[in-house]
Symmetry: D2
Subunit: 346 residues, 4 copies
């Protein structure tokens, strides 16, 4: 059994980790750390865990965690993981960090977009971006994984085959992303109240959302070019699910089948990627509850433009499920273990 | 492996059976029958099954089903199961029927409330009402199980300990039930359109809903008295979940702890029942996605009345999960197999 | 023109007052008071008012308000209106208070249920409960109106004809109320977040909600008996609308038509009350956006019990619309002025 | 009083016309025509009209309508208005058609995108596209107005100042549109059921939606160039509201203030247009319930690209409200009459 601990276990990504790991056949949970709920049972905060786990939330004690954890998931706000990860790493513990602190190769990109100085820039070189469909080999031997952001996952998976194959004008990329409200986290906020988000829609941080830089860095690495793109996130009145609608000008008049082959070759052996070829466009309800990313696209021959739609469950493939997928890879077990459930649809 | 077939596999309860059985470690699916989608892949109708199953919907052929099925789930509209169940039973196949056709002991009650003549009244004596928390022993040896209705499950589980223990005035029972829209099924209906059900609430079939008779029959059997009660169902703007608020006058001034003991004794060994004793009232989000029923109650000393709140996922404990629980019992395997997932909460 | 000021103008009831009064042909707004948003334009907080009003939120200055207000609406948390109303009253200004502070005739009832000492108990005798369908004559000459609570309005309007006519066993009354989330107000609260209220339902304050006492006091006055009843509020995943499902045992075997006549006589000249007699049960979407209360009922002859369903828009007939209706009556203008819009339905 | 009739009065746009016209001080309704509900009272179909109107739905009789109507609104599926409008026009009745049948100047564009032959192409020259902010002068004297589509209204209002002023590369325009479900109309459809649209999002008719041609035709006329653009509509889990996120490359490094002036000059005297300049991005809840279009934008200096967000209530400014605005203009009365309500926000 892999002994895991979770730091930040009562936020939405953290509690989803608890839920998924609880059913993982090769995992036993050592510590659940929650700054704000020390001493409370997880099942008091989240009564769905009654009869399932009697784990108590502990305060952070990295020494105690080090003693009986093979791997630690850190699910903290950006900037809070930085030194905790460094300590655990020094102790020889593998870490999967769900914040942005270990996602970037270029420390300057991180520091510019997150407006803080990284305290362990040397570790960024060691850390691997935890998108298995692109960095599986590196993840296998990684000790620190920077787990991708939810928007990053959906956008990169949808665009990587196109940029890697040079099918599109890399200056023309636009990512219009729509997310459910769990993506905004659990913190109190007027704008996230039911009465303020129901029956409306909200574009936010236009041209300035931090995930822009994450998407750009990885796609640039995929294409060996310096890609810059427009990214517009929107909050929508649903709980789970991201749908990215992405636009790019085609470099040549590639037809649907040609591009379909590019996608299916790129993702040939991927258990969690599904490419659509039948005029159905994927919806979040097809993937919510699962670790899958479904991708559909339309070639607009009139404009020689491609429109790609990718969907994920932001809490699973966009956060906790992907973290577990990374853990499976790091420990050499079946990558789909604990993650092979279909979406809920209803 | 238990070989199962599902007749009516593309309605909401049917497809939930497919989803849950797909992860059941002891089950292999033989036939998926769908009258309206013959020849289509389940994953075409429900793209959440892409990459998960390539099963095709077949037309109904009871002979073919009989050959390689240990058990058949019939998930058809009321009246449609009647003769199909009879045929399968004759062939020696175990059947769990999700319609009302085999739920009643008294054929007259069924015929009055469902306004049709039962064609196999002799089989009603053999059929067992599939509520394991009350009829587990009978289910073990049953060949036909009439799987309870969703409202029936939530109401009976919430009230059975009270009526069995004679704590309440059995003429004073009121069940005010609120359901998500999946409970109304998949058929086209103006009133079920998003624009007609969002931002509203709807009481329907007041004093005339058929589940009234099911609740009354089982509670009467629990109490050895003839119980009649008010049952008011409401459609609410959510997909999954039933919450029943139930009222009854206490026969004496029983306090919370006394009644709590009655409940916990009644459900002492139940894996799927959770009784609350800490001022939290259960919500559907605690059980949605799970096979659990959570029950809380308040004793109103001012009025000497008890108010009970029970919640279930109408598609799981209220339909497909409970059917699988029954199957597990009928085949002598762990009752929680394939059903031990916590609720989703988010 | 009637000069009005609103104290507490940026909460949900307050801003609804601004919206409705803005279209009232006989009203001019003098002051908008908001403790928490001094100096901000209403249209900055609520951009729906761009191009509509450039009013600025002022701090509370009762002297300034007194100078140019014919009437003041106080829309503050319970306990905060008490002395403000007293001051304005002393200055000869009419006041409609949307809190509970001036709703009760018996100060002890208020003090027990609200757990605070009233500082102006003598004024409770002068204050009138602002439910025009019952207290229209008293409201005409009132200087202080205690505007009813949202649950109170829906429950009392649904039950008053029955208790006044002695049709029901007054010990058997149960009010099961379902409300949209605007009823819970604007204050930050985890449980009111979109992710915590969507796809779930929540019973709360069972047997202890303060509105119980308001409903009991008024119905007791209607019936000249001491009525006690069960009241269970529920939060539902919608923004606006209250639906009350109410149960009572009939004193005799009254039929539908008999009771229908009782209702229609009781509300014979009411512009905002609609009694259903055609097997349709009212829904919030029929009244949301309007000042109407729609009432339907079913006589369950099997149990000799009546089930009444009443619906209102909690922000309009349950708060701000009713306050304006009261103002119209107090100033002798057409009671429906500014309030004669149909519900939105969509 | 202007005598109006509505053909197609029980669809969602039709009934919104009834609701808004009912409060219009200069309108009296002559005939309500509904093919599918002949003989029924509007208030039976839409109980929000109880106590408001006792109008009955009549079958279509153009002669009867001609006798006592100054203007007729036709709110029928595309293709159904074509000859009805022609007849009414011949009788000298003004018509505002809410379908696409009279929106196009080029009959070939209509025929290609709507895949039917227009039977009265000569009338297209007489018909005026009913977007008052662009065609007010033409509307004044029009006898046939082709009322814009909902997507068309939101997109054109958001982009017209940019294309008219040549600020953007007209080959780079992308319109990513998100709509509430009322935009999909009232017809029965599995995909529009609450259970199928709640907690999901749906891109549809990518690169092939008919409104593309309407947006392109009008913007081309605004710019005197042949504009082609990408238009992707999405259904979202809300009832009302359209939010268009629009992207275009700037022709030069124009800054926010420069572009803000272009917008405010373009819409200098418009009562229903609001341009944002304060880092707030408009949301549907700001305009739902009103006839307003709110427009915000961000200049992405990094990419020299502009992102524009426009929002409307699809049933009001996107359909029925705009139709009434056109009627007001055609009859020389105050353009805002009956339409000067602020958005609901809640």
């Amino acid at each position: 059994m892999i002994k895991v601990s979770i730091i930040g276990s009562t936020g939405y990504a953290g509690i989803e980790l608890v839920r998924l790991l609880n059913s993982h056949p090769q995992v036993s949970i050592s510590h659940l750390i929650s700054h704000s709920h020390v001493g409370k049972a997880v099942s008091d905060l989240y009564p769905n865990f009654r009869h399932v786990t009697d784990k108590i939330c502990n305060p952070l004690d990295v020494h105690a965690i080090s003693k009986d954890s093979d791997i630690v998931f850190t699910s903290l706000p950006h900037g809070k993981s930085d030194t905790i990860v460094q300590f655990l790493h020094k102790e020889g513990i593998k870490v999967i960090d769900l914040s942005a602190d270990y996602r970037y190769q270029k420390v300057s990109t991180y520091e510019n977009w997150y407006n803080r100085k990284h305290e362990n820039p040397h570790l960024l070189k060691e850390a691997v971006y935890g998108l298995p469909e692109i960095y599986r080999n590196e993840i296998k031997n990684a000790n620190i994984v920077g787990n991708p952001g939810c928007y990053g996952t959906a956008a990169i998976l949808g665009l990587a085959p196109l940029v890697a194959s040079k099918l599109i004008d890399q200056n023309s990329i636009i990512v219009d992303a729509k997310s459910g409200a769990t993506g905004a986290g659990k913190s109190l906020s007027q704008g996230l109240h039911f009465c303020e988000l129901s029956e409306t829609m909200r574009a936010y941080k236009i041209a300035s959302h931090r995930h822009t830089s994450e998407i750009e860095e990885i796609l640039s690495l995929c294409s060996n070019e310096d890609i810059k793109l427009s990214f517009t996130p929107h909050l929508m009145p649903l709980k789970r699910g991201i749908l990215c609608t992405m636009y790019a000008n085609l470099e040549d008049s590639f037809d649907f089948n040609y591009i379909y082959d590019v996608y299916t070759n790129f993702y040939a052996k991927e258990a969690f990627i599904e490419i659509y070829n039948d005029n159905i466009i994927p919806e979040p309800k097809f993937v919510n509850g699962s670790n899958s990313c479904h991708i559909g696209f339309v070639v607009d021959e009139r404009l020689n433009r491609i429109i790609v739609v990718s969907v994920i469950d932001n809490l699973i493939k966009g956060a906790s499920g992907q973290a577990i997928q990374n853990m499976n890879i790091m420990f050499g077990i079946d990558e789909t273990m604990g993650l092979d459930m279909p979406g809920w649809y209803l």
